[in-house]
């Protein structure tokens, strides 16, 4: 049979995000795939060198559109580390709650994309609606639906408003109450099993070798989560579990995501109970005049896609000297995707890609 070259994306229904893949196919079997990112490259890291420390907050959250909050968090953490800022105890709790909310919203978005792609339109509608409920919480707390810029060096921008705790609990109960529905309609549905079992399978060794993190790794049975291994914010002060699966295929990945989402909801309840009183931020000196001492920092957190790292260098000025993000989608979308697509069939490209949870702007930056 003849070999053909096929361009998949960026304008394609099976593609979430502005990303494209060049496939070399024979019949409908893929012989070789080459990821072709760069449609969203804005040169963030260069732009950040030209802006002051505080001006960079609106920029960083645009790196990952689906969940901007871990981006703010990691940048704030790096600044705190370089400038030696203390964060009050309550702010740690607020940050964790906020990050877990963002994880829930991001997983619901992922669920929308995945179920929509598999043809479960009803579930997709539910997921998107529930995500919107979480966005309403964000909107009340920060004023923005998608981008929040809430985490700040030295704490968070403002404390929870009155009665906000109850509204979080309310919303999460609404979402949690639908878990049986989700299970019946989607997760325990035989169609879901058959459409995703064995798709995009990767072994534990390969996942490690190719730099997999997050669900991709946990779906192969590795208990690896930065929230435990290098705990930050208030994750250490409550009890929670890492969820894993053994098979390493799309089915396991989506199940890991489901379990994680439920775990996140439980975590939020626990964090809300344990939250101490006190200040939500520490007064810092006028941010427009910040000069941060010379030094370098590498910080990492667990975003909803896996390990998110930030390497930052300061040369003592009012702007960062060099910033470099290590985003989870980077290895997933480039090395692992290429590996999984080899010998897959064309019909599975979207399935594999979305189950890997790739967010294109995170790759391109």
């Amino acid at each position: 049979m003849r070999e053909l070259e096929l361009y998949f994306g960026p304008q394609h229904l099976g593609m979430v995000g502005n990303f494209s893949i060049t496939l070399k196919v024979e019949g409908d079997r893929i012989i070789e795939a080459a990821a072709n990112p760069g449609y969203l490259h804005r040169g963030f890291e260069k732009l950040m060198e030209l802006r002051t420390w505080i001006q960079n907050f609106p920029l960083v959250c645009r790196i990952n559109v689906v969940e901007p909050d871990p981006m703010e968090m990691i940048y704030a953490m790096a600044v705190e580390k370089l400038a030696n800022l203390e964060v009050p105890e309550r702010a740690h709790y607020i940050r964790s709650i906020y990050l877990e909310l963002s994880r829930v919203s991001s997983h619901l978005f992922g669920l929308w994309a995945y179920s929509n792609m598999l043809g479960f339109d009803t579930v997709a509608q539910w997921a998107m609606y529930h995500r919107d409920l979480v966005l309403d919480l964000f909107e009340e707390l920060t004023g923005g639906r998608v981008y929040h810029i809430y985490i700040w060096p030295g704490g968070v921008r403002r404390d929870f408003p009155d009665g906000f705790k109850d509204r979080i609990v309310n919303t999460l109960h609404t979402i949690g109450g639908c878990v049986p529905d989700y299970d019946a309609a989607f997760f325990n549905n035989r169609l879901f099993y058959e459409r995703s079992k064995g798709i995009g399978q990767i072994s534990q060794e390969d996942a490690k070798r190719l730099g997999g993190v997050g669900q991709v790794l946990r779906a192969t049975g590795v208990k690896h989560d930065i929230r435990k291994a290098e705990s930050y914010a208030a994750y250490n002060s409550i009890d929670w579990d890492i969820h894993t699966r053994e098979d390493g295929d799309a089915y396991s990945r989506i199940w890991v995501i489901r379990n994680e989402m439920i775990e996140s909801v439980h975590m939020i309840f626990k964090l809300l109970d344990a939250m101490p009183e006190g200040d939500a931020y520490k007064k810092v000196q006028n941010p427009f005049k910040w000069k941060i001492p010379k030094g370098e920092a590498y910080v990492k957190i667990e975003s909803s896609r896996g390990e998110l790292g930030l390497y930052m260098v300061s040369n003592g000025g009012d702007k960062p000297y060099r910033v470099n993000f290590r985003t989870p989608s980077y290895t997933h979308g480039l090395t692992i995707l290429e590996k999984m697509l080899r010998n897959a069939s064309i019909a599975d490209v979207g399935n594999i890609m979305i189950s890997l949870y790739v967010v294109a702007p995170e790759i391109d930056r």
Binding site: K46, L217, K223, H224, A229, D239
Partner: protein, 184 residues
């Protein structure tokens, strides 16, 4: 564990400076040719996760600095268990297990060349490709140093410090006329 690792390193490799600014970070400055062996050494020690490769342009010293950040998958699990089961008694060793190693090396800016780390860590492929594109560093032995992100060609690779993006925007994008204006 950190001190043991440090001693090990110092006894095996000459010519390297090691510092441990925090309990869970180890910063190593190494010579160019030692990098791959040190990476290999860490991989054998269980640091099997290359988190990223980064590059910094130190224009005043006329050098590029390559930073390899290495972490670990395998030693996480026991450490994580320790932390949950016995919160108060987390030992320094257990906490360090999740640490990171920053291995740094400098290469000349005039003739930026280095060797690829793919034989040790396979996932260094896209990182090196990116550094090649954005900084113009050549990695010997890399199978495809083709453009990754950029569509246009830039005279100076855009992430170098002497590439002035504001100037570039003025010179390039602002020169393109509006269709309305051109009619008149």
């Amino acid at each position: 564990m950190i001190s043991a690792l440090k001693n090990d390193l110092e006894s095996i490799f000459k010519d390297i400076q090691i510092s441990a600014p925090e309990d869970d970070r180890l910063i190593i400055n190494a010579q160019k040719d030692a990098v791959l062996t040190i990476l290999k050494f860490f991989k054998d020690k269980g640091y099997d996760h290359l988190a990223m490769i980064s590059c910094t342009d130190w224009i005043e010293e006329d050098e590029f600095e390559l930073i390899y950040i290495v972490g670990s998958y395998s030693v996480y699990a026991p450490a994580a268990e320790d932390i949950t089961s016995d919160k108060s008694g987390v030992s320094k060793e257990a906490a360090f297990n999740g640490g990171n190693i920053l291995l740094k090396t400098r290469i000349s800016r005039k003739d930026p060349r280095f060797i690829t780390a793919i034989p040790v860590f396979e996932n260094s492929e896209p990182y090196e490709r990116e550094i090649h594109e954005l900084f113009g560093v050549d990695f010997k032995g890399h199978p495809r140093l083709t453009p990754l992100f950029l569509e246009r060609e830039y005279k100076i690779p855009p992430f170098r410090k002497d590439f002035d993006t504001r100037r570039y925007v003025k010179d390039f994008f602002d020169q393109i006329p509006f269709v309305e204006n051109k009619e008149k």
